[in-house]
Amino acid sequence: MQKTVPVVIAGSVGALMALAFFSPPLLWMREKAEEWFTILAAIAMLLGGTNLCVHHLRRISDREAGWGFSAVTLLTFVITVGVGVLKVGVVPESARNLDRAWSGGYLQEGGAFWWMFQYVYSPMMSTMFALLAFYVASAAFRAFRAKNFEAALLLVTAIIVLIGQTPDRDFLPEQLSFIRFETLTELCKKTFVTAGQRAIMIGIALGVAATSLRILLGLDRSYLGGDE
């Protein structure tokens, strides 16, 4: 029963979503199902917040490795929630609401929450994203080592595409000026890459259809922990 009810719900709602794709009269039912998911996900946020606090409090309590990070996490969590909920630094946006201190939006420009987002959160996210450049370089270095024929082919293709996308190619010797790198790059991107990607996409589409069917029919329950 504990597993049957979720499977029945997943199967019926999934079938409804698929039918609504083909039948416009059922669109409103699909929209309702999407709203239910949004409500469920919002409630789950409370679950996530509670779990976050419990998990990190336990780590601090047990003095696990890296417990200091847990302390920082909890502190910033409390400060962020407090600043957002209490709308610190937010002023009323409308002249009619001057007597209502909390009538402004919590993300109002100049507010404490906005300041934290602008000057703490965004720079940190940008920093993490910027790391990607270095990781791309190190991964490319490993991937392009010409260990065998396929790897050598990959290396040559990568060099062509790299040069083809470089706007100023003055560094190339005169003897190579007859090679149209931009044309070769376009050929690689539009012909080989697109063909390969489409083949993968067809496989993915069929895989998604079969997996969805397994879930809708209740054949695959492993995502719920199996039949045990």
């Binding site: 416009p24 990607l132 993968i200």
Partner: protein, 489 residues
Amino acid sequence: MWRSAISIRHLAMRQTQTQHGACDEARTQYSVLSARQSLGIVPCAAWRLLLLVAFITLELFEPTVVSAADPIRPPSNVKVEEIPYRGGTSIKVSWDLSPDDTTDGDSRVEAYEIRFDQVPKPFSQIESLAFRFLPGWIWNRVWRGRGSSFVMRLQTLPGARSIEPSKYYDGSSFDGTGVDSGSTFRVSVVSIGTDKARSAYSNAVTFPRFRTSPQTAPIDKSWFALVVILVCGTVIVCTELARRGKPFYVRPIAGLQAIEEAVGRATEMGKPMLFVPGIQDMNEIDTVAGLTILSSVAKTAAEYDTPIEVPTTRSLVMTAAREAVQAAALAAGRPDYYNEDRIYYVTDEQFGYVAHTCGWMYREQPAACFYLGKFYAESLILAETGNAVGAIQIAGTAETTQLPFFVAACDYTLIGEELFAASAYLSGEPAQLGMLKGQDFGKLAAMVLVVIGCLLATWDSILPRGKDAQGKDLPPRTQFLRDEVLKGG
């Protein structure tokens, strides 16, 4: 963003041109005025005559300048039609461009404003005006007024010939906000000049309000539905055949065979394992596929008693992962293996999650890392960190843009469909293996369609279809296959 930037630059150029035009006009008027003034201060009649001739010459050869005061002209031929197969939720408003909206870089039109009124009774609630727009059409939308004064205005970029607003709320929501459901729309369009001047209104078209009852055929995209039924039918038939004992060969998948190797390595080294089920919620099929593999990995890990860490970005995924691991531990006969503290929620934020997970990897030095689910830019950061700590790594995603990163940084990668086949492959159940065989028939159908498409495209290039009676080019032969069969019309 690009479009905005271009339109702003275009606007600035046009403003500069207008300013230059105004300067030329002022200069001309100044010279004429000077000549006129000089007429009054010259005593000699001959001089007067001379100046009169000069004045007439100046008047005759005064450059023609478009006056900024000329009103811009409105668009014309406004039409409103319902877009079929949208369940009565969408309309299309189209018009002919204003004669002042030219493409030669000297257009005087900055935008079009489409005005919607409800007649005879005006809208009374702003909530009832919530519309959803197709991307790329609407530059700005302006909600103004309530009551009888005005309803709703939309702005488009210059050169736009139509918009397609869709109703966001259903009919009952409209009725709930006090709007008369029996009313109709009156739609008219006005041109807005680069100097913010507005033209007169175009012709107004009255159109029945978005209908709340379905008025289209009950089945849409019938060709695509047929393809789906064929593929799903084949999968179900193969499943039934497998249940009845027909053996099917499934090729070995290296990434899945390596799971036991990875768990064994972690056991030997006495180190934990990391499982990342992507960064999306349970409504993504990739996440569900990742969790089905987690179930199998956790079962093997429970047999070896190797701890597995599952940080998640969504609390629903955390709950599902806990269920899966707990059931796997029970199935392995090791219920004490399950420790819910190892499966926890971190944050919804992409790079916050990456920071936590990479930090954990550097501290705990896991022996094996699994990345199976939906990934975006964080894929390479996670995989490279795992590589740096020397872990054996198995990854899988259906996100084609991330696959090259995983291939470069991981030991084994489940490419596309292999991720979805994993659950069936690992379970070993005949019914699920039969489904994999059904997928193969789908691939066969795709191959046949590709060959037919290639032949039709070749035929089109050798013998084009020519023109119809009106002199328009006939569509290529591949159009039906592409737009109707594959895209569903």
